[in-house]
Symmetry: C2
Subunit: 459 residues, 2 copies
Amino acid sequence: MTHQPAITQLSALLGDRLVTSQADRDLHGQNESYHPTLLPDAVAYPETTQEVSEIVKICAAEGCPITPFGAGSSLEGQHLASQGGISLDMGRMNKLLAVNDEDLNAVVQPGLTRVELNEELRATGLFFPLDPGANASLGGMAATRASGTTAVRYGTMADCVLALEAVMADGTIIRTGSQARKSSTGYDLTHLLIGSEGTLGIITELTLRLHGIPEAASAATCRFESVEDAVNCVILTIQSGLPMARIELIDEAMVRGFNIYSDAGLPEKPHLFLEFHGSPAAVAEQAALFGDIAEEFGAAGFQRAEKTEDRNKLWSMRHNAHPANKALAPSKGIISTDVCVPISKLAEAIVEAQDKARDMGLSCAIVGHVGDGNYHCGLNVDTSDAEEMKRAKEFVGLLNDSALRLGGTVSGEHGIGLGKTSYMHAEHGPALTYMRAIKAAFDPKGILNPGKILPALNH
Amino acid sequence: MTHQPAITQLSALLGDRLVTSQADRDLHGQNESYHPTLLPDAVAYPETTQEVSEIVKICAAEGCPITPFGAGSSLEGQHLASQGGISLDMGRMNKLLAVNDEDLNAVVQPGLTRVELNEELRATGLFFPLDPGANASLGGMAATRASGTTAVRYGTMADCVLALEAVMADGTIIRTGSQARKSSTGYDLTHLLIGSEGTLGIITELTLRLHGIPEAASAATCRFESVEDAVNCVILTIQSGLPMARIELIDEAMVRGFNIYSDAGLPEKPHLFLEFHGSPAAVAEQAALFGDIAEEFGAAGFQRAEKTEDRNKLWSMRHNAHPANKALAPSKGIISTDVCVPISKLAEAIVEAQDKARDMGLSCAIVGHVGDGNYHCGLNVDTSDAEEMKRAKEFVGLLNDSALRLGGTVSGEHGIGLGKTSYMHAEHGPALTYMRAIKAAFDPKGILNPGKILPALNH
């Protein structure tokens, strides 16, 4: 083991919270997506920011890589220890430290998950709205700039974090932002750390914006004859300024998956899943306005879900898109990828993706946070079939090219990780040099999550 | 003139768009706030991004400072050439390059002002909501992370910019962000440049989020017996989730200024100025809910402004806060300063500020974007009276200390510039080291707006 000197010192620091068992290493080296398993040499379980700082100091002195690990739900390999070293499992730093209900914010440790946070908030009348589907850790969500179904209304993690505490590559502990709602005092390190995937610093505390639980919430589904109709309905809805809380596209293939996995009983047509938040009058007004727009595009089969349990059932079905996608070809794996385009280009982009998958003989199901122009393609692929894997990766490349050609980005919310570093130059051009300069300035030894985000220099 | 070699080359490049006249240098060396006049050696008027890049290359080679200049409305000396060199006046790069109405965004050059943009958008049904009062340039607003009266609803410049083009310290032209509404592909250079006050790069193009002009808008004013009552009304309004478009505090001293300068005829009590945006039904509902809350705090004298011209008159009065403040002591100057605190601490902070000014024998008028916890103190000071200036600066220091003690920030929207560099360490602590590291990596020769944001190392 090349990192034995660091591991020996970390064992002395952490005792049985530094684990080298095969089982623990396996658990931290797996992922839900298509990336090969990549094992850390050891897993560290810090309990305090001070401990994270001590761990980083040891690793910095020994040149040992550190890969932060939240809930392990990232999809582009962000939590995989691609160069070995330490997997830094933040799971024991999972406390809700404060709810400042008068200021509509909460201070949390990074290992707390979004579902746990909302359970703890239940009595307060407040909630944390972001919902990427998985029960991700809040630190991981910040590190990967996650978003999900409600971002169309509440923004992404970039919009929901007021302040951070982080441990930097030499063990220095910094605080960014403040408890105030805005500030114009210097460089925005909060936004720099959000989305940096643990490559610039390790998030050890977050101050998150909360929202009042809406007085009324109402969900609905409806179907369309074509994906173009569904997406054009979304475009007009967003352009009309309707403050949708959720507006999700489920294409015909994914509806088939929902029918198999969740016994949804839906006609195999493109669907929109919707949610409205507000006062009872506002929700009724929004639903009526949406109904008028949807009618123009031939929407049919409206089903409403007003009661909390009905809404939960609906969104649980949506959140099970991954297993539902898998149910389309149970013996195969899933390559899940996402891109994001300007909303005016969304119908064009999605139709092109469907056509391309069909032409390439790939099984592809699409779900999309379409109010943001963000969509996910889930490919059913036999990961041991080199030829099918090659075709799938070619498809992902074409999808990325298409997103960039349409003025968009190669990832709306999954991030770069290991999976998309080769597209960084195509998307960012000369700006990539400045990202590298920040990495070099913040982490000169390259110990923080090496191999992620930035392509190797010869790429 | 120490920068003659650069000026000679810039003259060759720009012809009569490189100006060294005393009048032009004076114009660019002045400010609306209390900072002493600081003259550039010359003023450059680029017309294209390529020209900005050429200018920067010459200045980089010659070690000549470059201070970007938008509309000259910054209040902390951001546009002052504190070390001489070139004032880079972006006023000729003032085109609206594109309106992407389907994607609710516009692409603009940095010299376009916010009022000019909204005039050009008039036929589209869209508008750019941010309103810092001054008719600032959009590039300057991004560079200083401006916000203003509508930020409580629409966010600050950090929330309103999708993408940037910038010229970096060696003349490299980069693009950050994309036309998509979100992205998770690498370090967030857009947010890093926003608020960097021209010290990391020169913004040469912006893609701005637009909003549909609300179907209905309604404004109102009301008064309270005390500042605590007014602010507590604001706190409860925000906590109730009312989507206020504007909610502004005018303290009793500033009301007196409005009465003198704008013949407002208002009772000399603390006032709130309000605006509601939405559908007619939503606006009516919001106004009624606000009325219920305000009643709890003893609000009286409700006056509504529904017609566009009445609303414009109201907000024009608010925007004239600076001359109204001056009208309280016409022979003196104004020191305008702002801080921002968590909204739960706002009443405490404002009452403390009023008391302190009174105790120190200073004339102080307060206006606040109170929905954000952000307020401005305008001190009437004889700038040639060293003793009064000393007291005023002491007051500003106490205000900053108080904001930090309450969990806030030493500036909500005016920025750091020259005026607040000495508070950067108190606010950011060890994080300041990482800001310095970014500056050193991006601008190793220190030619971009030197002396701004970062305190000298011996501070």
